[in-house]
Structure formats: C-alpha cells, structure tokens
C-alpha cells in the first residue's frame, strides 16, 4: 500500500469529520451571542432560556471541533512533511495567526462565558460570548486564507526550490479567499439555521401531540401549559420554540441566498483559476455552454486519462456559461481541450526528482476523479437548495403560530438538519478532490508565479512508512466514529430534556433552599 493513498484518506476523513462540527460551532455561536443580546436588551425570559438551551448544545458540539482541530494542525508536519517544507514559509503564517489571534480568544473567552454566569457583570459576560463566537469566524478566515492559497497561490515566489512569501497583503486578500470566506460562513449559518428549525419543530410538535397546544377553527395556535411532574412546558416554553423555529428558518433562507451568490462568484474564479476543476465538475469532455443535469457513462477516471465515454443525457443550454462568465455563449473548456494544455505546461510525467521518491517518473493524470467532482458538485447544490426550500415551506406552515400535528413532518424536520451538513461536506470534497493531482494548484492568472505549484505525489512525508500511516488512520477513524456516536447521543438526550436540560432550576417543583451564594452557578 502506498503511504500517499493512506495519508490522503486520513486527511480526507479527518477533515470532513472536523468540518461536521465547525460550521455548527460558527453558526450557533453567533446565534447564541445574538440571543443573549436580545435577553440583555429586552429582559424577556424566553431569550434567556434560548441562550441557555442552544448554548448547551453549542458547547457539546464545540468541544468536538476543538479536539479534532488539533489533529489538523499536527498532521501537516506528521504526514505531509515535504508539503510543510515546501510551503511553510507562506502557509504556516495564517495557521500560526489563527492560533495566536483567534483560537486563544475563542478558548479563553468561552471558559469565561461558561463559568462566568454569576461571576461577571452581565454586560461583560455578554461581551465574552461575542468575543468567543466572533473569534470562531476570524479563525475560519485564517484557515480559508491558507486553503485558498493552495487553490490559487499568490504573493509568493520560488526561491531555492521553496515557496517563499513576498507579499503578505496579497496572500491575505487573495480573491479566492475573499469569496470562499463568505461562502463558508453562509454555509455555516445554513447549518445552524436548520439545526434550530429542526429541533424547535420537534418540540412544538411534541407539545401539540401531548395536547398542550391546540388550534382554533381559524387554525391559529392556542397555547397551553403543562407544568406537572417537574416538566416545565409553560407558555414561555412555547415562545422559546416558535421563536427558535422562525429564527432558524430565516437564518437558513438568508444564508442560502448568501451561499448562492458567493458560490457563483467562486465558480467564476474557478473557471479562470482551475479550469480543469470546472470541467471535472461538469464531467464535460468537450467545450460547451450547457450545465449538465445528468450525464452518464464511465465516470470513473480511475487510471483513465480521457473521458470520451461520457454522454450528456440532458443539459441546460447556456447555464454553465452563465455560472462561469455571466453570459450564455462563453465556451467553457472541456477536458479534451484542457488536457493537452496542462500536459504542455506541467509535464506528462512526474520529474525524476528525489522528492517524488518511488513515484518519480510516473505518468501524471490531470483528471480529477470525475464521479466525485461531478456528483459532489451536484450534491452540494441539491442539499443546499433542499434545505432552503424546506425552510421557506416551514415558515409558511407555521404562519399561524404552530406546527401541524403530523408526525412525519416532524421527523422530516429533524432529518432535514442533515441536509446542510451534507451540502458542506460535498462542497469541500468537490473542491479538494477537484484540485488533484495538485496539492498546490498552479496559478495561471499571473505571469511569474506560474511555477508555484506542487503535485500531491510530492507532498507526503518520505520518512513515514505505510504501517505508521495505517495505524493512525485506523486509530483516528475508530475513535472518531465512537465519539460521533457519543456526541449524537448526548445531543439527543439534551434535546429530549428541553430547556430544562440546560436550566435544571426550571424543573425544580418545590421551592427548596433556593439560590445559594456559595455554590457555583455552573460546574463540570
């Protein structure tokens, strides 16, 4: 087994996994901070409850993002040491800045927020959650600067065989980063919006199913109460869920619009910067203007270097040109046109350089795995669009104040939470797999930086054996699988407990000893 393949699987698995937690952290963090602000300003009980409940779920998820993020930072050096040596001068900077300027803020202020509920003045406490949640956004920016440099290297020259940063401003204002950042942040808010929507729907449905809330002849909600047996489902509880549902749906809708526009800007850049990725997204062999709705044929480019068997079954004329260049006539280059161009510019075989190890002299396949790029691109758009459509429908359904007493709709709302997650994962898999065979894609836009690129085959650690890589792949994958189950079980349990799971004082039926100054408001 080639260590390169294992290292790639490991990077893919750990990154996709890490990015299940990250968007929820980013989106939910800002929403929790906004809810606490609403409580601070209005003093309404429902906002406090929302802050506490969504804050609890936020923390359960946050820690998994932290834990799996460290793996990312270490793995460049561990498994990709040649890559780290080649790009460290420019790629290390945003990572170090992320730790120093964002991650420190995130971790420190989140600790203050969790334990500071009664220790800090209210305004200071509120400022802590804003610092922590905005730091997650800043964090995303730095990481996306690093990733965008791999997609579109700028501000860099090759000196003594290494990529050396010559213009930090260019690196940090890379046009690829500036469109990827909003795309990713909107994608994160789409996740958080669907999360609020699905869970709030579930609770409203349960209130209806238990007969607490009913509807009158006009279909308007009649809110009831059930405060027996320590189950606090009062009128404020209703407000918590209906407000969360509407907030989630609006956030999901607005995010989708943002995702669509920024995605369009990304496609235009991709058309210029990585034409082969664009062609592979379409499984387009020949130049054309149409967006493929369905193409069939042997998409598996496993070893294949042409794509002549692929037949477009149905395509929308002009749409691809619009995505790429905002008109309906621009010919978007297909694989068969691009392949000779790439071969001429970057060679047909890996150079006979020791950095390629045993892979030196191998033929280069410039074609990404097209079944992945083609379907990844479509899965991203489909799941993202479905989630937005569902959010619009949900807003309409709850216009009279509650959800229908229909179980399958409630289940659909809960399953719908997964759609934006799937869209995010598919999008990243597409964009990273579409960059292959390069780990740093060549930048065709400017003269002079044309030579800054690196083949993935050259990036892997030469000193690390397949056995070591396999050990870490198996160990990390199994631990990740177990922890995913643990996280999901915990999320289910805390969702099932409702607001009371985050505010146990709500479930106290007796008047008890009350608040004790000496006891911590929160403790692990």
């Amino acid at each position: 087994m080639d260590p390169l393949d294992i290292a790639r699987w490991q990077f893919g698995i750990t990154t996709v996994y890490h990015f299940l937690m990250v968007p929820l952290t980013i989106g939910l963090g800002v929403l929790v901070a906004s809810l606490q602000t609403a409580w601070h300003v209005t003093g309404r009980e429902q906002y406090l409850r929302m802050t506490k409940f969504w804050g609890k779920l936020f923390l359960i998820n946050f820690i998994m993002g932290v834990a799996t993020g460290i793996v990312q930072e270490f793995q460049f050096g561990m498994a990709w040491s040649e890559y780290s040596r080649f790009v460290g001068d420019v790629f290390g900077a945003p990572l170090a800045m992320e730790a120093l300027l964002a991650f420190f803020v995130e971790s420190t202020f989140l600790g203050l927020w969790i334990f500071g509920w009664q220790r800090l003045p209210k305004a200071v406490h509120l400022a802590c959650i804003w610092c922590a949640s905005l730091a997650t956004v800043v964090s995303a920016y730095f990481i996306l600067v690093a990733n965008s440099w791999m997609q579109h290297p700028v501000g860099t020259e090759i000196i003594d065989g290494r990529a050396v940063m010559t213009d930090a401003w260019a690196v940090f204002t890379n046009n690829t980063a500036l469109v990827t950042f909003p795309h990713t942040i909107f994608g994160a808010f789409a996740v958080a919006g669907a999360f609020l929507l699905g869970i709030a729907w579930f609770h409203l449905y349960k209130r209806r199913a238990a007969g607490i809330d009913t509807v009158d002849e006009a279909g308007r909600v009649v809110v009831g109460e059930d405060t027996d047996r320590g189950r606090n489902r009062d009128r404020t509880d209703y407000l918590v869920w209906i407000t969360s549902l509407r907030l989630g749906a609006v956030v999901a809708l607005v995010s989708f619009i943002g995702v669509a526009f920024s995605g369009h800007a990304q496609a235009q850049l991709m058309f210029e910067q990585q034409p082969m990725k664009m062609a592979a997204a379409e499984a387009a062999c020949h130049d054309g203007t149409g967006f493929s709705v369905l193409s069939i044929g042997d998409l598996s480019s496993d070893g294949a270097t042409t794509c002549d068997d692929i037949v477009g079954v149905y395509e929308i004329p002009g749409l691809l040109s619009f995505l790429a260049n905002e008109d309906f006539t621009t010919e978007v280059k297909g694989v068969n046109t691009l392949l000779p161009e790439y071969q001429e510019k970057y060679g047909t075989h890996l150079p006979d350089d020791p950095m390629y190890g045993e892979r030196a002299g191998q033929e280069i396949n410039y074609l990404p795995l097209m079944e992945v790029t083609y379907w990844g691109f479509r899965a991203m758009i489909t799941f993202g669009g479905l989630a937005a459509f569902a959010a619009a429908v949900a807003l309409w359904i709850v216009r009279k104040g509650t959800v229908p007493r229909v179980r399958w709709l409630s289940r659909l709302a809960v399953f719908g939470i997964l759609a934006p997650f799937a869209a995010n994962s598919a999008g990243w898999i597409f964009t990273e797999m579409g960059r292959q065979p390069f780990v740093v894609a060549p930048n065709p836009t400017f003269d002079g930086v044309d030579q800054v690129f690196m083949f993935t085959a050259a990036a892997v650690s030469p000193g690390v054996g397949a056995g070591e890589m396999l050990f870490s792949l198996i160990a990390l994958t199994s631990v990740y699988a177990v922890l995913l189950v643990v996280e999901v079980v915990l999320l289910f349990r805390y969702v099932g407990g409702g607001v009371g799971s985050a505010m146990p004082e709500l479930n106290d039926t007796d008047d008890g000893p009350g608040e004790d100054d000496d006891v911590l408001a929160f403790a692990y």
Partner: protein, 340 residues
Amino acid sequence: MDFLPTLWFVIIAVLWAGYLFLEGFDLGVGMLLGPFARREKQRRLLINTVGPVWDGNEVWLITAAGATFAAFPHWYASLFAAMYVPLVVVLLALIFRAVAFEYRGKAETAAARRLWTIALSGGSLVIAFGVGVLLAVTTTGLPLNANGDRVGGPFAWLTWPAVLGGLAVVGFCLAQALAFLALKTDGDVRVRSARLLARWFPVLLAPLVAWVAVVVAGSPRTGAVAALAVAAAAAAAAWAFAARRAEGRAFLSLGVFLLASVAALFTAAYPVVLPSTIDPAFDLTVANASSSAYTLQVMSIVAAFGLPLVLGYQAWTYWVFRRRMTEDHIPDAHAVTRIV
C-alpha cells in the same frame, strides 16, 4: 547572528515555557483525578479548579506548533514526521481529554463516569509524557538524514533521554498541580496536596533537573549554566516554601524553576533547533530551518501585537476565577429529565 530567526527561536521557547507553566498544572490536576481524589465531589472539585482555564492553556501548545510551522518549517516538518507514532498517541490523548472535560459531567451512569475519569486522567498522563519526549528529542537529537527525514523506523526516537524528558514533564506537572491545588482549594484537598508536595518534591523534580543538566553539560555556555543555576536555586526555594506551607510563593518559585529550566535547555541548544544523531552536518539550525526574513518580519509584527494581548486577557481570567474552592462550592449533579 541572524536576528529574526533568533528572535523566533526565543518566541518559540517562550511559547513552550508558557505551555508548560500553564497546562503544567491542569495536566497534573488531570493525572491526580484517579489516585488523589477520595470521592466524586472531590474529583469534581479538582476538575473545576481548572475548568474555566484548561482550554485556553492548551492553545499555548497549538500556538507553539503553529509558530514552529510558520517560522521554522523544516524544524516542524522533520520533528513531527519523525515523531509520527508518539504524536498520534498524544493526539488521541488530547482528543479524549478535551472531550472528557465537557462530557464527564453529562454521564448518567457511574460506569460511564469512570470511563471519562480514565480518559481525563490517563489522557493527561499521556500528553505530559509525550510532550516531554517531543521536547527531549528536540534537545538531544533524532536520526535524521540530509533531507531531515527520520531513518531507523517508527521507534527510532525511543532513547533514554527521550524517556527522561517524558518523566521530567510528568513529574513537573504533578508538582505544579499539587502547588496549584494547595493555592486554589481549601479543606482536605488543600492540606493533602501541600503535604504531598513537600514530601515528594525531590522525586517529582529530579528528572527535569537531570534532563536540563545533561543538555547543559553537552553545551556548557555561560547563559545556559547561569539559567541552570537559577533553576536549581528556584527549586530549592520552592521546596523550602512548600515545606513551610507558603503556598503562593511555592507555586511562583516552581514557575521560576520551570522558566529557568526551559531557558537553560534552549540556550544550550542554540543555534541547533533539531540535532541529527547521524551527522552534525544534517543538524537543523535557526539559520537553515527558518522561514524567509520577510515572513518572519510579518510574523513578528503579529506576535508583538498578539502575545501581550493573550497574556493580558488570560491574566484577567485567572483574576476573575481567583477564589479558593471547596467541595461545598460544587453543585449537586442533576440528570437530564426527559420531557418528550
């Protein structure tokens, strides 16, 4: 002398010192969870003494690694690839420990709680040992070839200095944690940790002293010897304070001991950042492993702004949570009541 690479060598030393100083006690508190705490409330007391700060402390490690990547890519790449297997184990420990902090209190059964205790406690031990090994091989060397790649298989790093370094950090973390608990708690935990610290002090700190002495003996330049002398004096003072139950001064002296030890290690190692045990010609040094002057300039500006800020708000955090804690402060655990 190249000014910027040397400056970044110092900054990385500062980051490691900051990491060991701060996470030192929270790793130690984690390790003590099993053997030291007598009952569940006491275990939770221990966890909560570091609850608000452990995550912020851990970022020092992430920043140390990130800064090494940015300022010395060859050092980062060679060290991390050579230490592949131990780092995988450390990563798993970091994952389990972090998750245990958040999830332990949410466990519903005693058995699940015990598993999380093991994850937190064992994770802390593995991290401390692993970080010690990583730093030890940084000072004593690895079998690296001309390209900086490890030869000799996945366990080529396993030498007695590596093990000594691992023990050194474990011992220091335990001492630091006992000093911290004596300072941070009241009641049974305070009394016992102060007593344990005074009794076990020499045993806990001997490996670190031995490691520093070995490294300084190999490169006895004035600065390193002076730092070693300061470290020894601070250790003696810390022991005396610990014996007299002067908790604050014992903790601070231990801190000075650590900072002086790290200073001695890095001063002795300079200008080599990662020695090759195969051929000194293959040594990675501040000159041949560093990033370009331009990148280091950019990073210096960022660090000059960022590092004081971090120190400021982290110090404020410790001030906010400065109160001594007892078992009485720990609220009763409550299970989640399902309402649907």
